[in-house]
């Protein structure tokens, strides 16, 4: 199966690879997926006092589409408010990367990672976690 140009581009030049200090109060970490399923994403956000995401980092174990989905997600997150970030839908990622049906789960995982990172941030800062979307798997 051939990958789309956008997937290849993100895969070859992944944005925002790295690690934020997960112990910082203004950092939210989402770790989703499982090694035995062949994909694990870790996505982190750093949030300022105005609820704006100032930095985002990822590391992903998975196929090219999983890596591209998480790379794209970090790119989109930077500069958004937390509420805006919550509105990112996996189908936006599917559309942007032209993912084929068999790779839709990669985008689902990226959406899960975003929401999971936001929840980690919310809980750390005394807020209620938002309900996680029903897993599509």
């Amino acid at each position: 199966m051939a990958y789309s140009e956008k997937v290849m581009e993100h895969y070859t030049n992944p944005r925002n690879v790295g690690t934020l200090n997960k112990d910082n109060k203004n950092v939210g970490t989402g770790l989703v997926g499982a090694p035995e399923c062949g994909d694990v994403m870790r996505l982190q956000i750093e949030v300022d006092d105005n609820n704006v995401i100032t930095d985002a980092k990822f590391k992903t174990f998975g196929c090219g589409s999983a890596i591209a989905s998480s790379s794209l997600a970090t790119e989109w997150l930077k500069g958004k408010t937390v509420d805006e970030a919550l509105a990112i839908d996996n189908m936006d990622i599917v559309e942007e990367l032209a993912l084929p049906p068999v790779k839709i789960h990669c985008s689902v995982l990226a959406e899960d990672a975003i929401k999971s990172a936001i929840n980690d941030y919310r809980v750390k800062n005394g807020m209620e976690p938002i309900a996680m979307p029903k897993s599509h798997h």
Binding site: L31, E36, K59, F61, G62, A66, H137
Partner: protein, 403 residues
């Protein structure tokens, strides 16, 4: 050196130019139907087929009358297994095979289960070989067929064929082997190995696609299979259908070349394979899969822990290899062969198969080593699992999200 480099010779091999040359006349002026008995066009085609049959027979140590040409190894597997079951089911309904067989064997057996066959799927040991005592214990009075592959397509391990056939025969069962990966690569002799039926294919040994053969023993014992394709009674009634004359001529030539060049070629390939495997297995957290002593000379299967195989292949875009990870469905099933060895799912997802071939050069192997190392290192930089491993976190203790 041309890129990308082809290291997927277990999937298929390029056609040897010498094979192509032998085939070409049979597409044009020697186009006759080998079954046309009344004119020169038919005779010429038949001569080509007869000669090919001898070339094939010589490679595996049988007589030309014991070769049934088919469309490939999948058809030969189906004809052998289903044909034996149909022919001998009044003697018993039990078949023994192994979990690491090719799908052509496994699915033919599953088909027979629906028709009343009992099938035992032997587990393999961690090195990929079957346990002979388990085979012995599985034999019953109802066992009519034991079918175990010669060399495995994913990890290259060679089963103890002589010992397996001896056990089958001791209990009055026939022994069949899918030798698609072995014939032409290592010495295979149906008499020395005690083989009653054997499936193989041209396109794994530098011949054309669309042609293969089933060896069916004619003496001690005389084996019969019920035809699975009915029609004009070609191939002594066991496989009807106009003979694929150019393909058969190609298979014959491919067999001849393999027979003449095998010894030298096997040495050359195993040296190159060992070089590749040695260099890559020196990397941290990399593991060679399968028995390394009883193995085809041209295959290496290596797991690079903490990177995912499909992602890795994408990074190795200048190498054509194959992965045990198929990230193409929500279930993300890794290779059933690697799982049969007891590999955890994450290690199975992290595997790459390198299949060397007649046209692989040392320069290409040197390139493959550096290219693979760079890709693994790159992906490990991207891998949260690698980072956790480096921090000393026990990944098995993490509660992974339901997925």
């Amino acid at each position: 050196m041309e890129l990308p480099i082809y290291l997927d010779n277990n999937a298929t091999t390029p056609l040897d130019p010498r094979v192509l040359e032998a085939m070409l006349p049979y597409f044009t002026n020697k186009f006759g139907n080998a079954a046309s008995r009344n004119h020169a066009f038919g005779w010429v085609a038949e001569e080509g087929v007869d000669y090919a049959r001898e070339q094939v027979a010589k490679l595996i140590g049988c007589t030309d009358k014991e070769i049934i040409f088919t469309s490939g190894a999948t058809e030969a597997d189906n004809l052998g297994i289903k044909g034996v079951y149909e022919m001998y089911q009044d003697k018993g309904n039990h078949i023994i095979t192994a979990t690491t067989e090719h799908k052509a064997v496994l699915d033919a057996c599953k088909h027979l289960e629906k028709l009343g066959a009992k099938v035992t799927y032997l587990q393999v040991k961690a090195d990929g070989l079957i346990d002979l005592q388990e085979l012995e214990a599985a034999m019953t009075e109802q066992t009519i067929l034991v079918t175990i592959m010669y060399g495995n397509n994913e990890i290259g391990v060679i089963q103890p064929i002589k010992e397996i056939s001896a056990i089958a025969h001791k209990h009055g069962a026939l022994f069949m082997t899918d030798a698609t990966q072995a014939v032409g690569k290592i010495p295979v002799d149906v008499n020395a190995d005690g083989i009653d039926l054997m499936a193989f294919s041209a396109h794994k040994m530098y011949g054309p696609k669309g042609v293969g053969a089933l060896y069916v023993r004619r003496k001690n014992p005389r084996v019969k299979v019920t035809a699975q394709i009915d029609g004009g009674g070609h191939e002594r009634g066991m496989r009807s259908g106009t003979l694929n004359v150019p393909g058969i001529v190609g298979l014959g030539k491919a067999c001849e070349l393999c027979r003449l060049e095998m010894d030298e070629e096997a040495k050359r390939l195993s040296a190159l394979r060992d070089k590749l495997e040695g260099a890559l297995s020196q990397m941290e957290e990399s593991y060679v899969n399968g028995n390394t002593e009883h193995r085809l000379p041209h295959v290496a299967n290596i797991s690079f822990k903490y990177v995912e195989g499909e992602g890795l292949m994408m990074s190795m875009k200048d190498l054509a290899v194959s992965s045990g990870s198929a990230c193409t469905s929500a279930s993300l099933e890794p290779s059933y062969v690697l799982k049969s060895l007891g590999l955890s799912d994450d290690l199975a997802h992290s595997s790459i198969r390198f299949g060397l071939g007649r046209f692989t050069t040392e320069e290409e192997i040197d390139f493959a080593i550096e290219h693979t190392k760079a890709a693994v290192n790159h992906l490990r930089e991207l891998s949260p699992l690698w980072e956790m491993f480096k921090e000393g976190i026990d990944l098995s203790k993490i509660e992974w999200a339901e997925h």
